[in-house]
């Protein structure tokens, strides 16, 4: 099942840090197996597209360490929610072949959501730019689902 408009709207809400809208849309989402997989795919794809926008295969280890630290330092809950080494590995894994299987699923979800939100807002993506970003992530998500 491909990504639906409802799923895109839910991800848009968290990327725009619209907390109430996000929770409302998340609660209303279809919870069937295929729909949940599509939702996960969109969360993963949004993270990948965000990382590809901000970094590249030429990005140094130091820049990733620096950025992860900057984001984790922003909020009270973030230092615990976002393990620094796991966050760095997940960002780097967008460009290398390193497996991230050993990272717990919940931690992965947190890293994917928080860093996608941070990057989208740091890059100032709004309006059409945000829609283009979401369209790109949706294409990637649909391809991951297959």
């Amino acid at each position: 099942m491909p990504v639906t408009d409802d799923i895109v709207a839910t991800v848009r809400a968290y990327l725009q840090a619209e907390q109430e809208e996000f929770q409302r849309l998340n609660a209303a989402l279809d919870r069937s197996r295929d729909a949940s997989i599509a939702y996960k795919a969109m969360i993963v794809a949004s993270f990948i597209v965000a990382v590809q926008r901000k970094f590249s295969s030429q990005t140094s280890r130091d820049e990733i360490i620096d950025y992860v630290a900057a984001v984790r330092a922003r909020g009270t809950d973030l230092p615990e929610l976002l393990d620094p080494a796991a966050s760095e590995r997940m960002i780097a894994s967008v460009f290398n072949e390193e497996s991230t299987r050993d990272i717990a699923p919940r931690m992965k979800n947190d890293i994917q959501m928080f860093f996608a939100t941070a990057i989208v807002n740091d890059e100032g993506l709004h309006g059409q730019d945000l829609e283009d970003f979401l369209a790109k992530a949706r294409k990637l998500a649909d391809d991951l689902i297959g």
């Binding site: 998340n26 197996r33 996960k40 295969s57 820049e63 973030l78 960002i91 460009f95 807002n121």
Partner: protein, 170 residues
């Protein structure tokens, strides 16, 4: 597909040095007045027509996967992970609450502060410092770490000498 490694070797990447032209060096060069994102390593939309939002409509998902160097092994792993724990994604999203708003960069980072213990010197009945027999207070462990640091410093000095020599002789 080009092999890529986001973790480039030593000598590449950001160097954190204090700006000595501004007087006494800040011993804490890593502190900034506000959180700033890491330097961009890719052109942004303001750099001209090479990176336009309109390009998004062109490539398919498959082309994006290849173009942006998402390795096949990673694609396979991502696909497998999608079907693991998919049933938890909604509950996880609910549990996040409003925490994701903390990821936003704010002009004055609030941070939070630890409840530090008072700096008393008097002995306490219980060890206040969190040291026990296995905590790295062991002599063997200290020896091993000293050896590691000596090796690192030796390497650093050699690297600095080489850099100075390269700068002098090109």
């Amino acid at each position: 597909m080009r092999q890529s490694d986001a973790f480039a070797g030593p000598g590449v990447g950001v160097r954190h040095e204090t700006n000595r032209d501004l007087g006494p060096a800040d011993p804490r060069p890593y502190l900034t007045a506000k959180d700033t994102p890491a330097p961009r390593t890719k052109p942004d939309a303001s750099d001209g027509p090479t990176h336009r939002a309109a390009d998004v409509e062109g490539p398919s998902g498959e082309e994006l996967l290849e173009k942006d160097k998402l390795h096949k092994s990673r694609i396979d792993e991502l696909r497998e992970e999608l079907i693991e724990n998919f049933d938890e994604v909604h509950d996880w999203a609910e549990s996040i609450g409003d925490k994701f708003t903390q990821a936003l960069d704010r002009p004055e980072p609030t941070g939070h502060y630890l409840q530090c213990r008072p700096r008393v010197v008097e002995a306490h009945p219980a060890n206040p410092y969190g040291v026990d027999a296995g905590t790295g207070a062991a002599a063997m462990l200290a020896t091993g770490l000293f050896v590691g640091e000596i090796a690192r410093r030796t390497y650093r000095k050699a690297a600095e000498l080489k850099e100075r020599s390269n700068a002098r002789y090109g």
